[in-house]
């Protein structure tokens, strides 16, 4: 494999069990892909110059190239824009293939560190994006210091945390959920 992309597909690496894993993680139409390339033609990751082309990604997923896909960083640069979902003639939902790869990667801790930062903020404050200095910014816009969200209601935030603890977050979070 050349740096950052799959330029030569090594069939000896093909692993059917990984295809099944991805299907179970949401890429349920994966096998219907006809490699027409429409997804890639509309994908901003391609326009931005990320190495791994979505059409190739779906191909690699179909072959079950576990190592290649779990190591790939492009999947974390996907914009979730859903152009590919809109345009795919086979209803593969290529974005769901990306998500399935991410879901498999998270289980083996093969995701960028900022993934955990978002999850930690989400769990602690109810907000994945939680930048400092917001009180001042809200004042400038003539608003109360805190918005009426989970941040302002401890009892509701505790309930929200309880539902999050009932998901896979409980298993994979590298930070305490208490």
């Amino acid at each position: 494999m050349e740096e950052g992309g799959v330029n030569v597909i090594d069939l000896t690496q093909a692993d059917e069990s990984f295809v099944k894993e991805l299907e179970a993680l949401g890429a349920d139409e994966l096998r219907e892909c006809i490699q027409c390339g429409k997804c890639g033609a509309t994908c901003p990751m391609a326009l931005a110059g990320l190495e791994f082309f979505i059409k190739r990604l779906v191909h690699a997923a179909n072959l079950g190239l576990r190592e290649v896909l779990l190591d790939d960083s492009s999947v974390w640069g996907c914009q979730s824009c859903n152009r590919c979902v809109e345009i795919c003639p086979m209803d593969i939902k290529p974005y769901e293939v990306i998500q399935a790869i991410r879901r498999a990667a998270v289980k083996v801790e093969s995701c960028p560190a900022n993934t955990y930062e978002g999850l930690r903020n989400l769990y602690r404050f109810g907000h994945a994006v939680f930048p400092k200095g917001f009180e001042e910014r809200r004042k400038k816009a003539g608003l109360p210091e805190k918005p009426p969200t989970a941040l302002s209601f401890e009892d509701l935030r505790k309930k929200y945390q309880e539902i999050l603890r009932n998901t896979i977050l409980e298993e994979i979070a590298p930070f305490p959920l208490d």
Partner: protein, 298 residues
């Protein structure tokens, strides 16, 4: 009187609360009652629970949706991600009864449930469909006086259209924002890269240089084809790129022009008579010329 649950999300209340002020202002002016969604959390962002599993995504979104359902309202958001994430979660909940059942099992542990009745609206579709072009025209206090606008709808406001409560006739040729701006007296021409991604989002977090280069490509084309007075944005994340992201490009000497940027909610609020200081409190590219033009001709 129409009512709507105001879904705030994260970027709007914490990074750009001037959009929150603007949404509150225009809803009041247009006679829509705001229902607060106490306890609502993040949508949750695509890179968080949606990247862990479909059930995790649906459960976290259903927490928010269940708050609106209990209050008997739909939700309105100014953020493209909040719009996309929660509409997609809704779509999966409808499509997969087994997920709906599991979601409700989990929600049940804290005494909540979600039947699936809530629709999530963005500012564009809400103004276009729930308010309507004619009513908006009647309510305008400050005509935009031919202000030339470059329009950015934002990816999540367009796709996947099958998950949304309402949609453009052709999502690859969006016209709703252009029509709304024209109804307020502005000019909003089509341009060749109108549907291109601005680069904000996962790309900006994981490959910042590529993200800004992609954004510059789009901005250069807007400058060349339209040379607008203002860029008008349908999504709060895109606005961060068009405003603060553009400031970065200027700082890095990658561009030698400045195009101010406002969220559609901000522009609408100003046209309806909002306090400009509050409605544009966090804009980093100066807006002076724009406000003079809007306020000048009345």
């Amino acid at each position: 009187m129409e009512k709507i649950g105001l879904f705030l999300g994260c970027n709007i209340p914490f990074n750009r609360p001037d959009i929150e002020y603007s949404i509150r202002f225009f809803l009041n002016e247009l006679g829509v009652e705001i229902v607060e969604m106490e306890g609502a959390a993040c949508c949750p962002a695509y890179g968080t629970m949606p990247s862990l599993g479909l059930l995790e995504w649906a459960t976290a979104s259903a927490w928010n949706l269940s708050i609106a359902e209990e209050k008997g309202v739909d939700m309105l958001t100014g953020c493209g991600s909040c719009y996309g994430v929660q509409n997609e979660a809704n779509y999966y909940i409808h499509k997969h009864p087994e997920i709906k059942e599991k979601v409700n099992e989990i929600l049940g542990k804290v005494g909540r449930k979600y039947d699936g009745t809530v629709k999530v609206w963005n500012v564009i579709n809400f103004l276009y469909e729930k308010i309507g072009i004619d009513k908006l025209k009647q309510k305008i206090k400050y005509n935009l006086n031919g202000l030339k606008c470059g329009v950015q709808t934002g990816c999540h406001n367009l796709w996947p259209s099958k998950a949304f409560p309402s949609s453009e006739e052709n999502t690859f040729f969006p016209t709703r924002m252009r029509q709304l701006i024209e109804a307020m007296g502005g000019v909003a021409p089509h341009y060749s890269t109108i549907t291109d991604c601005c680069g904000m989002g996962a790309l900006r977090s994981n490959a910042p240089e590529k993200s800004l280069a992609l954004f510059k490509k789009k901005l250069d084309i807007i400058k060349e084809e339209l040379n607008p007075d203002l860029n008008v944005i349908g999504c709060s994340s895109c606005l961060l790129q068009f405003d603060a992201g553009q400031s970065l490009l200027i700082e890095q000497k990658k561009i030698d022009y400045k195009i101010p940027a406002l969220h559609l909610a901000q522009l609408t609020a100003i046209a309806l008579g909002a306090e400009v200081d509050k409605a544009t409190a966090l804009a980093s590219i100066p807006l002076n010329g724009v406000i003079t033009k809007i306020k000048g001709g009345n």
